[in-house]
Amino acid sequence: MCGIVGLYLKNPDLRPSLGARFAPMLIEMTERGPDSAGLAVYREQVGDGGEAKVTVHNADPNFDWDALAAAASAGLGQPVGIERASTHAILRTRLEATTLRGWIEANRPNIRIMSSGSTLEIYKEIGLPSDVLERFSVGQMAGTHMIGHTRMATESAVTTQGAHPFNTGDDLCLVHNGSLSNHHRLRDWLRDKQGVRFQTDNDSEVAAGYLTWRLSQGATITEALEASIKDLDGFYTFAVGTRDGFSVLRDPIACKPAVMAETDDWVAMASEFRALAQLSGVDDAVVWEPKPGTVYSWGSA
C-alpha cells in the first residue's frame, strides 16, 4: 500500500509552523504504511545560499559524528560543520555538496547518504510514523515545504535505506506509492550503462535513479516525469520534491490514489483526503483528484 503526503506553504507567515501542520498529515496515513516513514524538508535558504548540506545516517547510537566532521574538514581542507538528529546528522560546508558527498562515499562507506543540496534534508527510519516524527522532532521544523511517505513494504526489506524519500540529485527527492515491474532490468541498465549508484533492491529507488539519470541528461523535472510514463512499467503515484515546490504524477492506469487541495495559503497532496482534513482552511480549499498520466507541478519544477 503506502501513503504519500506533501505540503507547500505559499504564505511565508506560515513557514515557522510547517512541521506542526505536516505531522498530523503523515500520522493520518499510518494505516497505509506502518512499517517505516520518512520525510523531506525544504528549509528557507540561510545567508547567501553558498552553504551546502549533506544529510547522513548511521544506525550506531554511539557513532562519533564529531570525528567524522573533523576527518572531513581535514580531508577537504575546508571546515565541515555537523548537527546531530537521532540516527541522522547534517554536515555543512561552503564546498559543493557533490564534493562533500564524494569524500564520504570514498572514505566512509559505512555512512549512508540520505540527501544533499542547499535546502533539502531527508529523515527516514523504520517504525510507526508517529515514532519517526517524534525521533526527528518534525513538529518543530520550519521550512517552505515537505513531502513524506509511510511505507507498507511489498517489493523489498523493511530497512532504513528502503524507506522513502529517495534523493534524486541536489535538492531533489522522490516518494512512491505503488510497485514497479521492470525495476530489475532498468536498475541493471542504469547501473551498468549509465553509472547510476544504488544502495538497495528497492523498486522505488530505481524510479529515483531513473529520474536522476534523466535530469543529468538535461531534462526538467516535468520532462523526466513525462518520460517515465513510457519507461517505467507498473503502478505508481509519485511525488517529487524540488527546491521550489513539488510535482505529482499518477501512472495512466491510476490504481494508486491521490488527492490534491489548494488555498491561497498552501498547496497539499495526499494519498487520501483524510490526511488533508486537519489542515486549516481545508473547508474552503479547491479539492480535486489528479488525472492519470498527467504531471502536476508547483514552483519552478
Binding site: 491510476a254 490504481c255 490514489p257 487520501e272 483526503f273 483524510r274 482534513a277 480535486w288 492519470p292
Partner: protein, 229 residues
C-alpha cells in the same frame, strides 16, 4: 420530525453505522445529519431501512456501500467505491467521485453531480448511475446490467468487455473498449434517459445522448481460436 445529528468528531464510524443500520431497533422514517466526515472511510454502509441520511464533508472509501432503501446524500466529494454493490435506494454525491463509483451495483440510483474518475460502474449488475460531469477511463468495464448516463465526456476504453447494460453519453467518448459499440438511440431509449435525468434532477436534452452497448462478440468461444490451446 427533526433530524438526529451525529458528529463524527464525537462518535466513531462503527457506532454511526450501527445506529444507521438499526441495530438497536428500527430506524425507519428517521432523518440523520452527519457532520465532520473528514475523509473517513465506510460511512453509512450496509443500511437496510428507509431512512434519510445527509453527510456533510468529503467522504473516504466505500461511502454508502451495499445500500438498501436508504436515501443517502453526500455534500462533498466521495473517495474510492462510493455506493459499491448498492442494491436499492438512492445515493447522491454533490461533488466528484473517485474511482470505481457504483462498482458491482445491483439496483437503486447513484447520482454524481460532479465528475466520476476511472472505472465508474465497473461490473455494474443493474444499478442506474447518472453523472452530471465526465467519467474516467475503463468505465462500465464488464458491465452486466443497468443504465449509465453521462452528461459530460467518457474516458478511454468505455464499456470494455461489456456483457449488457446501456451506456448513454452526451459528450465525447475517448475510445470504446473491446466488444463495446455504438447502438441506435430509439425513442424508448430517449424516454429512459429522460426519466433517469428527471429522477437525478438534472437538466439535459435526452436527444443529445448517444447509446453504447455490447456487440456480444465475446459471449461465445470462437472455433478460430482453438489452435491457441
Amino acid at each position: 420530525m427533526a433530524a438526529e445529528r451525529i458528529d463524527l468528531d464525537q462518535t466513531d464510524v462503527r457506532a454511526l453505522n450501527q445506529r444507521l443500520q438499526g441495530r438497536q431497533g428500527t430506524v425507519s422514517g428517521t432523518r440523520f445529519e452527519i457532520f465532520n466526515a473528514k475523509g473517513r472511510h465506510n460511512l453509512a454502509v450496509g443500511l437496510t431501512e428507509l431512512i434519510e441520511v445527509t453527510i456533510h464533508g468529503h467522504a473516504g472509501y466505500y461511502c454508502a456501500g451495499m445500500n438498501q432503501q436508504a436515501q443517502v446524500t453526500l455534500h462533498g466529494n466521495a473517495g474510492t467505491g462510493v455506493a459499491e454493490n448498492m442494491m436499492s435506494g438512492l445515493v447522491r454525491v454533490s461533488g466528484d467521485a473517485s474511482q470505481s463509483a457504483g462498482a458491482t451495483g445491483h439496483g437503486g440510483l447513484l447520482v454524481i453531480e460532479g465528475d466520476a474518475s476511472a472505472r465508474c460502474g465497473i461490473s455494474m449488475k443493474g444499478v442506474d448511475i447518472v453523472v452530471g460531469g465526465s467519467i474516467g477511463h475503463m468505465s462500465a468495464f464488464m458491465a452486466q446490467a443497468g443504465r449509465l448516463v453521462v452528461c459530460g465526456d467518457a474516458g478511454a476504453f468505455l464499456g470494455d468487455s461489456i456483457y449488457e447494460a446501456d451506456l448513454f453519453v452526451r459528450g465525447a467518448v475517448e475510445s470504446l473498449g473491446a466488444d463495446c459499440i455504438e447502438k441506435e438511440m430509439t425513442p424508448a431509449h430517449r424516454q429512459t434517459v429522460g426519466e433517469l435525468l428527471e429522477r437525478a434532477r438534472m437538466e439535459a436534452d435526452p436527444a443529445s445522448f448517444r447509446r453504447y452497448g455490447s456487440s456480444r462478440e465475446l459471449y461465445h468461444f470462437k472455433i478460430d481460436n482453438a489452435a491457441a490451446y
